[in-house]
């Protein structure tokens, strides 16, 4: 009897413990859920802050400018007015600016990819005197601000002694000074260093020339790095403003960034037209981004991952 009573008491204590444990777990879970909700709420707020301002441009681009000043504000236009887009296409050089941007950014990207891959391979896999010094030199120039280079570059492109033509307002003048970003070489070297050295050694023993090894063995393995550096370089030139601003003086040679900013002077308070230009500029990029999002995200993470 006593034993049984003891047993009952013991199981009572146990169940009390179990209850306490269960309620602690519930509290803990509830706390966890609250924390999770707070986390997702925070993330959502910042995601909205990132996106909503773009939608904010959409509305005025479909309205006549004076409608913007209506009070109370109307966010959804009562009728879609597309005249702003017509103004951009027919009264400005917008199509030409888009073409210039495409030529400029694509050329810089292609040249950068070729020369950075070659140099990255040499720094990662070939042995030669001065390797450390040269690589240090390339890395050191990362610290040189563009603003320091623009004056000498402008003078060089516009009036190098002995040049019969000025490079101002020409594609080569715009493109060539932008092709030697140190970051690309660094990224390529880091990537090639992660490739198994045995592959290259084996090909070398089989008597392959360095060029053959590079083309047939290293290059095919580098596809992901090339895509990432390509997107990285293209985006950097797509948003480039300072260099196109100073190296182009005629309306027909402007890039989109410079052209669209010049609209602000031309259409002083015609916000409808200006936001139409902005929408036209962003829309294709967002489409491309959504198509290749994985690569874009990798491109911006590359710097961190390759440390």
């Amino acid at each position: 009897m006593a034993v049984q009573a003891g047993g009952v008491a013991e199981s009572d204590v146990l169940s009390q413990h179990a209850q306490e444990y269960a309620s602690a777990a519930r509290r803990h879970r509830a706390f966890g859920i609250t924390k999770g909700l707070a986390a997702y709420a925070t993330l959502s707020i910042f995601a909205l802050i990132a996106i909503v301002p773009f939608l904010y441009l959409l509305s005025p681009s479909f309205r006549k400018s004076y409608e913007l000043f209506s009070y109370p504000p109307k966010w959804i236009p009562s009728s879609l007015y597309t005249g702003n887009f017509g103004t951009i296409l027919h009264q400005t050089s917008y199509p030409r600016w888009a073409l210039n941007t495409l030529i400029f950014a694509t050329s810089v990207t292609v040249i950068t990819l070729i020369i950075d891959t070659l140099a990255g391979y040499a720094f990662a896999r070939l042995r030669f005197p001065g390797r450390g010094v040269l690589f240090g030199l390339v890395l050191g120039t990362l610290m040189i601000p563009t603003a320091v280079l623009i004056a000498p570059l402008y003078i060089m492109i516009s009036r190098l002694p002995g040049w019969t033509h000025s490079g101002i307002n020409t594609y080569p003048g715009m493109i060539l000074p932008m092709v030697c970003s140190p970051l690309g070489v660094f990224m390529m070297r880091q990537f090639i260093s992660t490739l198994p050295e045995a592959l290259v050694e084996a090909a070398r023993l089989d008597g392959g020339s360095e060029w053959l090894i590079f083309r047939k063995i290293v290059l095919p393995l580098m596809k992901p790095a090339i895509v990432v550096l390509g997107i990285f370089t293209f985006m950097a030139q797509w948003v480039n403003f300072l260099w196109p601003l100073i190296i182009t003086t005629t309306n027909d040679m402007k890039t989109l960034t410079v052209g669209v900013s010049s609209l602000q002077g031309q259409f002083v308070t015609n916000w409808g037209v200006i936001s139409a230009a902005a929408v036209m500029t962003m829309a294709p990029v967002i489409v491309i981004f959504l198509m290749f999002q994985r690569w874009f995200v990798q491109a911006s993470m590359a710097g961190a991952l390759k440390q």
Partner: protein
Amino acid sequence: MMSTVSAEKAWDELTLSEAEYRRAGARYRQRRSLRAYLFLLPYFIPFIAFLLVPALWSIWLSFNRGGILDPAKYVGLENWRSIASDTELTGAIQNTAVYAVEAILLVFTLAIVLALLLNRYRKGSNIFKLALYVPLLAPAVLVGLIWQFLTNFDFGFINLALDAMGFDRLNILGSGRLALLTIVLAEVWRGLGFWTLYFLASLQNVPEELLDAARVDGARGVQRFRRVTIPLLRPMLLFAVVIAIIANFQVFDTVYVLTQGGPYESTSTMVWFIWKRLFQFQETGQGYAAAVVLLAIILALTAISFRVLGARRKRRA
């Protein structure tokens, strides 16, 4: 006996003497280096022409004037004397420093918090990453435009919101402190996605086993972050600080689009000052000297970052 001698002779003929061997080796190494230089040449031609030479040339130019419209002329220390007493340049340096400190602190704090959240709550994190990335696609010109819309006195969202809450509207870009703050916010808005992804990638590089070990040892979340994550992230943080300093001390595009340095030069930054002297005022000498000042500031700040953030790592190693 005879046969061994002839065999040795044959062997001698087949093998290279030490001198010959050394010469062949040297020839091989020479050809190998030559080939390496050929790989480097396509990069180093533009690198020297468009990066190294202009960088050194910029220092020489700071002792010159002219150059943009007419050939440069040597003027000695005149530029340096004239910018030393230029309150507009000291103002620009101050604005740039205030801007950079605010922008870097704000964007790093937000980005680290968001990266920690994304790292902890992975379900559906992809959609947040994509959303945060979108502002990166916009050139600064469009960012400036968006922020002009947001801050517009008549129809800007911020003023409409102030109005709705019963406050007075603010002439945001017309008042110095608020205009600089708008530039900070615009750049933080644009850069947040990049830094979040950067810190997220860094966090994911922290080995899970180390965190588990710390957890078993009874370290709580904050302690794990401070004692395990941060020390491991030190090199990443160093790289981030250096890159952020270099980028933010060159802020120009948003200034150009949003405020043109105004009102009363209160948002004039260093690159804005340089660009204006070079291409607007034809005061090229001051522009050249200010560019060298900018270079010196960036180099000094980079060196300081390396000392502060790099030191402890070295001691431990």
